[in-house]
């Protein structure tokens, strides 16, 4: 007897919601198997990975702190993904945003100016957008694949950051460490409570989520972009210009990533070093997908992904497991999610004549 795959009459609404939940559950299951195979008690390790990190106020603060950039970037990226614009270089846009914001913070003539934070915000957003404008221009005007260009620009951004912190921007009083001087206090978000690191930049993310929701669900441009993504020919027939979708999609992602970079440097980091992001830009792609490219889903996806980062760090410290586990979990989660999506459109049927 063989199971038969059958196309559903129409996509299943229940499966659309259930798929991320199933994928998450399967990821936990795969995680337990992996831990058991490595010789660790699966339940205790899962606890150490997913519960212990957020078992305290500090843990909760760290959870939100890491979720914030993920959600912010995913919101920006989802705008493009809806129109099939594949910006996978958010990591580079984040780095450029952080560089620009840190530059303003370090070199603005008055280090106590209350204008510093707003200026850094604009610098971060502007730099992220400028970095994303390169692939946007090349795709819209030069017909060049944006996947590869955004990715190549990420490598270049990483090298630029390395150049700056090893060279011209290195802190002269920093014992030759490759890092910039610390930002002045006025250039940093003040934490809610000095015992924890969570700071008001999460409100930026909250605003971004609302804007993203308004844009995708309530605006005509958002609608046009979804049409371009779902049915390019129909979009062209209706007179929607592809180039406007390209520009909107990439600039939204660039701005979001640049702002996230600014919030990192003006928040938990306080300075630039060669490694400023644990891969938020790449993980945000997964967050956007887990979140079904919609605002509410992205918030949940970001919280889940943040927990993966946090859990990876925790088991590295407590159990000596490598941090690479985080990336493995990210990959597995995306695998399961994509596979679970299949059942939105198809179902398994027992053959009638068994």
């Amino acid at each position: 007897m063989r199971l038969r795959i059958e196309q559903r009459q129409e996509p299943s609404a229940q499966m659309r919601i259930a798929a991320p939940v199933i994928a998450t559950a399967l990821t936990f299951l795969a995680g337990s198997v992996l831990f058991a195979a490595l010789g660790y008690d699966p339940l205790a390790t899962l606890h150490a990975f997913f519960v212990a990190p957020i078992n305290s106020i500090n843990g909760l603060s760290e959870w939100l702190l890491k979720a914030s950039p993920l959600i912010l970037i995913a919101c920006g990226l989802a705008v493009g993904f809806r129109a099939n614009i594949w910006n996978i270089g958010a990591e580079g846009q984040l780095i450029i945003g952080a560089i620009a914001a840190c530059g303003v913070g370090l070199f603005y003539p008055n280090p106590e100016s209350p204008l510093l934070i707003p200026l850094m915000f604009l610098a971060g957003a502007g730099a992220g957008m400028a970095w994303a404008a390169i692939p946007a221009f090349l795709r819209a005007r030069m017909n060049t694949n944006e996947i590869l260009v955004t990715l190549m620009l990420t490598y270049i951004a990483t090298l630029l950051l390395s150049f700056l912190v090893h060279g011209p921007w290195r802190d002269p009083a920093g014992f030759n460490y490759p890092q910039t001087a610390l930002l002045p206090a006025a250039a940093m978000f003040e934490p809610f409570d000095y015992s924890y690191r969570l700071n008001p930049s999460i409100f930026i993310t909250a605003v971004a989520v609302v804007i993203m929701w308004l844009f995708t669900d309530r605006s005509f441009l958002g609608y046009k972009m979804s049409v371009s993504g779902a049915a390019p020919l129909a979009a062209r027939y209706a007179g929607f210009r592809e180039s406007s979708a390209v520009w909107t999609g990439l600039l939204a992602g660039g701005a979001a990533a640049g702002i996230a970079g600014m919030a990192e440097v003006a928040g938990p980091l306080g300075q630039l070093s060669p490694q400023i992001s644990p891969g938020y830009g790449f993980a945000a792609i997964i967050v956007a997908f887990i979140g079904r490219l919609n605002a509410f889903g992205i918030v949940l996806g970001g919280l889940l992904m943040s927990l993966l980062f946090l859990g990876g760090e925790t088991v590295q410290m407590t159990l000596g497991l490598p941090a690479a586990l985080t990336r493995i979990f990210q990959g597995i989660l995306l695998f399961f999610l994509l596979a679970a999506d299949f059942f939105i459109y198809y179902r398994l049927r027992l053959p009638e004549h068994a």
Partner: protein, 306 residues
Amino acid sequence: MDLFVAIFTGTIIAATPLIFAALGELVVEKSGVLNLGLEGMMLMGAAFAFWAVIAGLPMPVAIAAGALAGAATSLLFGALALTFLTNQYAAGLALAIFGSGVSAFLGRGFGSTPIDALKRVHVPFLSDIPVVGPMFFRFDPMVYLAIAMFGLITWFLYRTKGGLILRTIGESPETSHAIGYPVIRIRYLAVLFGGLMAGLAGAYLSVAYTPLWVENMTAGKGWISLALVVFATWRPLRVLIGAWLFGGMTILQLQGQALGIAVPSELLSALPYLATIIVLVIISQNRQLLTLHFPASLAKPFRAAS
């Protein structure tokens, strides 16, 4: 003259991993499937080959282990893209992230000591010819294997019935299915072959090129290989030429760094990535050339109607 020979041989060697990965991807894309996960498959190949070497296995076995690791990883992508009909872009990205994670996980026990690199062979008599000998006849066997794979793939794609079927499927899976070709099975084979080649590319990096394990040691070579396939407008000979061009660029910037040219090393290191962008832009201007050999069904999920 010595410098010229050094640059020439360096170019050929630096191009070898790109040739493996890009030619494999070419076959995959010719069947109408886009696997963006080259980086992940290469890292798996690199990790397993390195692992086999430090476990004391002979070099050919280690390289085969790398190739098989790449192929096994590609099956994950195949299952998602071909059986579960997922978005191929997303499935490829997931593979890239997953492969980098798993390889880093495996590699934590490898230590940082270099291994004995794959030995170069001196082709008898020929390698003794002045200039020509050192230029062409003193490479390690995988350099020659890469060239042989180029010949094999060109022959297969354009001179055999199997190649014709593969290309037909890439153009129109619906028609091919109607004629009676097993579209999904052939696409699986293409994806597996692509994984095998990416695994070889990774193995070359870790046991011959750098003979060292470094986390994420591919440093974007998988993505550059993807760009090469576009650059080559889906033709094998152009893949070869493109890979040599990039190999040359890598070597020139390394030579530049070694000579201590008064340019920051990061800027020089950025050159290959910058060049990739420029080359993509140039090639994208000729839309006719791009569409001529472009597999019409690329990245579109296919499921047999009946």
